[in-house]
């Protein structure tokens, strides 16, 4: 079975600092692969290389067996790599519905048109409405993103990414800044999405990681120090020592 | 021919160091504060007018110099305190508009005070002659003075940036503004110092350029546009880039203007050659910029 996403021997240096030190990992079909690590472990640097915002010094990124190391961000997206941003990054002056519509239109293509009417593209808006239906954002569809709460923006991040129907989804701390109830809701939502879409989940919230992940990788100082099932990671003494220090956090 | 070549090359270096004096300030101000200052050329003009006025009143070129520097620095600090300081967190468009407004005002204020006519100033005593550099090459001492001053300033800036605490902050500020703030440095003071220094250098360049060309309204914008090309080619934020680019562009511009029409005369009529030659020569540095952008979009010495 080919991995949906494969990262092989990725290296990235900043001056004397090796932020990504020979990192390899895979996301298999049906898998939710969690990437955890303390602050400064190099998670953001790694994500940016997978998405194409940053070029690695060495190594390769493959999407469904295809080498995308040299591809640009939009090219990777078109090939099926979806992502959410840790600090929400949306079209702030557009409505919730329009944000999803722009994602749907991007997937449908035909956006280099000067003489159509975006508002009149029925297929785009039908799909945007379908994505919104049943979510907590449905009654907020006409609200401009600037006026959303943090939790709502986090939900929209996910919806926008799903609108592109990604083959694999990169989630950059989807729980960050969410309250307890919102977190529980997000976990449920991600579990649902995970049934159809494999994910690489970068997360600090250990509850979420152990509730969702089928496999966990631990990144410390740019290096993967352990990889395995959630239970194995939970009981790995090296992980406890190097990453957590305090034992109770993994409990 | 070779004597002429050397002479024009020296002229190019002289123009280049003048460009550097302006570009250094501009690139520092942008690199550290993230502000684009179109009115930098106005400081150059203010230095030239203030110094010229003082020199005419006192009869001494050298007494004009401190006045030029002080006027440009004071104008610069006033602009920083009253306008630029409000724009640090605004987008570039607001900065462009506000400093464009300053240009309009500065030019009119100068016209009100000194009129529209270009003013020609005399060379300072002791530097009004020329020296025999090579057999057959007598070169004006004043131009040599400008070259020397420009190189001295470049060396001074290098020392300042690489050997002092202020320089360390400047370097840190150019790469990471938040880090400097986190160090507990009074960033506002650093900004003021850098802006004042940039203004000082602009005033120096303006005053020294006075006797070579003419002191006139619009002199600032003319050289400012060439300075932009220097900053873009050198890489925004890089002093070293500004120095290298200023010298290259100064020499290229001067050489093209001096020799291109003559060269074209070999293949076409003199009238056509002059027209085409001057046309291409005046576009030369911009075409060079286009070339650099094709190869290195962020400039030769881009910092990031």
């Amino acid at each position: 079975m080919t991995a949906v996403l494969e990262i092989a021997g990725l290296v990235r240096r900043f001056g004397g600092l090796t932020a990504t030190d020979n990192v390899s990992l895979t996301v298999m079909p049906g898998e939710i692969h969690a990437l955890i690590g303390p602050n400064g472990a190099g998670k953001s640097t790694l994500i940016n290389q997978i998405c194409g915002e940053l070029r690695p010094d060495a190594g390769a990124v493959r999407l469904m067996g295809r080498d995308i190391t040299a591809a640009t961000v939009p090219e990777r997206v078109a090939l099926g790599l979806g992502r959410t941003f840790q600090v929400t990054s949306l079209l702030d002056e557009m409505t919730v519905r329009a944000n999803i519509g722009m994602a749907v239109a991007a997937r449908e293509g035909r956006t280099f048109r000067l003489w159509d009417r975006l508002a009149g593209r029925a297929s785009v808006w039908a799909e945007a409405d379908a994505l919104l239906r049943g979510t907590a954002l449905e009654p907020r569809a006409a609200v401009v993103v600037r006026d959303l709460s943090h939790g709502e923006k986090k939900q929209l991040e996910l919806l926008v990414a799903l609108a592109r129907r990604p083959a694999v989804l990169l989630l950059d701390e989807p729980m960050a800044g969410l309250g307890h109830a919102e977190s529980q809701e997000m976990i449920g939502r991600l579990a649902e999405v995970g049934r159809t879409t494999p994910m690489l989940l970068v997360e600090h919230d250990m509850d979420a990681v152990f509730a969702l992940a089928t496999r966990v990788s631990v990144l410390v100082y740019g290096r993967i120090i352990a990889q395995g099932s959630p239970d194995a990671i939970r009981n790995d003494p090296a992980v406890r020592e190097a990453y957590l220090g305090a034992e109770d956090e993994l409990a | 021919m070779s004597i002429l070549l050397i002479e024009q090359a020296l002229n190019g270096v002289q123009y280049g160091v003048t460009l550097f004096l302006l570009a250094a300030g501009l690139t520092l101000i942008f690199g550290i504060m993230g502000v684009i200052n179109l009115a930098h050329g106005s400081l150059y003009m203010i230095g030239a007018y203030a110094g010229m006025y003082a020199a005419a009143e006192t009869g001494s070129f050298w007494l004009g110099l401190p006045v030029a520097l002080a006027a440009a620095a004071v104008a610069g600090l006033a602009v920083e305190a009253l306008v630029i300081r409000r724009l640090y967190n605004r987008d570039h468009l607001d900065q462009v508009l506000a400093t464009f407004a300053l240009i309009l005002m500065a030019n009119q204020a100068i016209i009100l005070m000194f009129g529209r006519q270009p003013i020609f100033t005399r060379l300072p005593a002791g530097f009004d002659g020329s020296v025999q550099l090579l057999p057959g090459l007598a070169y004006p001492t004043y131009r040599l003075l400008i070259i020397a001053v420009g190189l001295a300033v470049a060396a001074g800036l290098w020392l300042l940036i690489n050997r002092t605490r202020v320089g360390m902050l400047v370097r840190a500020g150019a790469t990471n503004r938040d880090m400097v703030r986190a160090l507990g440095v009074d960033i506002r003071l650093l900004y003021t110092v850098v802006f004042g220094l940039g203004a000082l250098l602009a005033g120096l360049a303006g005053y020294m350029a006075g006797p070579i060309g003419a002191v006139q309204v619009g002199m600032g914008e003319q050289i400012l546009l060439a300075t932009f090309v220097v900053v873009v080619v050198g890489g925004v934020g890089s002093i070293r880039g500004a120095f290298v680019a200023a010298l290259i562009l100064g020499v290229v511009d001067t050489m093209l203007r001096a020799f291109l029409p003559t060269l074209l005369r070999q293949v076409m009529t003199p009238a056509e050659a002059d027209q085409l030659g001057i046309g291409i020569a005046s576009m030369g540095i911009y075409l060079l910029m286009a070339l650099v952008l094709l190869i290195r979009p962020r400039g030769l010495f881009a910092t990031a």
């Binding site: 992502r83 000067l114 592109r164 | 462009v96 546009l225």
Partner: protein
């Protein structure tokens, strides 16, 4: 409601020459013509500046190229073909498409290079390239060099006499109306939405799969063509063209018009152009040092208001209601 306002505005614009002549102010007709033409240029700039977030400080270059297209074609209609190959022409239906092509090609070249970087470099590079074209036309003595080129007869257009100021007004108005209709379609198209998305968040748009560069370049070219159209019309209004039309201060003035009208507001540039030209006309009549006052006004607007004249009026209105 909007339709009523549009109809009333159209009626007022159509009636303007009669009102001006009845009031004994025929100079107003020429002023209105210039406003219509500059509105086209400012709205073109607003398309990339207000909608697309690209701060071009070189748009006067395209305006000037449009004007020179008319001037140079007129020159060669009298003086024989350009390079012995390209015949001149005095027909508006030829010079306008030609002006669109010339300014579009120049915008493609300048845009392709300057859009390789962003932010402050983009501003400096557009400014520098515009200045390069300015120097080029200053050095072209065949076309009058620094002094410019006099166009003794305006272009021929459907048998109309463009020398007549009322006729020229209606022609300019017609072009402006068509232009704004087209612009309306583009702003509300898929392409227009992508351009606005790129301004709001370029990183997000890339993550949605849009490649920003080609959209921005296309918008830059369209915007340059709009300025070229305005320039070609202006050459017919002034019956003159000179490097001054592409001077860097003209680029600044176009930005000022956009700002005065309110960034990214569809009809804002019309009001911005009107405000600027009326201000210029009256300040210039009052003192030759009017740029001093203009600078001061601009500075106050930038430092103390947001959203241009429209925003200023809204704020004053808000303050009065309190």
């Amino acid at each position: 409601m909007r339709a009523v306002i549009l109809i009333l505005a159209a009626a007022a614009l159509l009636a303007l020459p009669f009102a001006a002549q009845a009031a004994g102010q025929p100079a107003l007709i020429t002023l209105a013509t210039r406003i219509a033409v500059y509105a086209i240029a400012a709205a073109s700039l607003n398309f990339i500046l207000g909608y697309g977030g690209m701060v071009s400080f070189g748009h006067a270059a395209f305006f000037g190229l449009g004007a020179y297209t008319v001037g140079v074609m007129f020159h060669h209609a009298g003086a024989g073909p350009m390079f012995g190959l390209i015949p001149g022409t005095t027909h508006l239906l030829v010079t306008i498409p030609l002006a669109l092509a010339v300014s579009g090609l120049a915008a493609a070249a300048i845009g392709a290079l300057s859009l390789r970087t962003g932010g402050v470099q983009f501003i400096m590079i557009t400014l520098a390239f515009a200045q390069m074209l300015f120097f080029l036309f200053v050095s072209l003595t065949t076309y009058g060099g620094e002094d410019g080129l006099i166009i003794r007869r305006p272009n021929e257009f459907l048998g109309l006499n463009l020398r007549d100021r009322v006729t020229m007004y209606y022609v300019a108005l017609g072009f402006a109306a068509a232009f704004f209709l087209i612009l309306w379609r583009i702003v509300h198209s898929s392409f227009g939405a992508v351009i606005q998305g790129i301004r709001q968040n370029e990183r997000r748009m890339a993550a949605l799969g849009y490649a920003p560069y080609r959209y921005k370049l296309a918008a830059f070219v369209l915007s340059g063509m709009g300025c070229g159209l305005a320039g070609a019309l202006m050459a017919n209004v002034l019956r003159f063209t000179s490097p001054d039309l592409m001077h860097w201060t003209k680029s600044g003035e176009l930005i000022v018009m956009v700002i005065l009208g309110g960034l990214g507001s569809f009809f804002g540039p019309v009001f911005g152009a009107a405000a600027f030209l009326i201000l210029e006309t009256y300040l210039a009549g009052w003192s030759e040092h009017w740029p001093l006052a203009l600078g001061a006004i601009l500075l106050v607007i930038v430092l103390f208001t947001r959203g241009g004249v429209a925003g200023l009026i809204a704020r004053i209105g808000g303050a009065l209601q309190r």
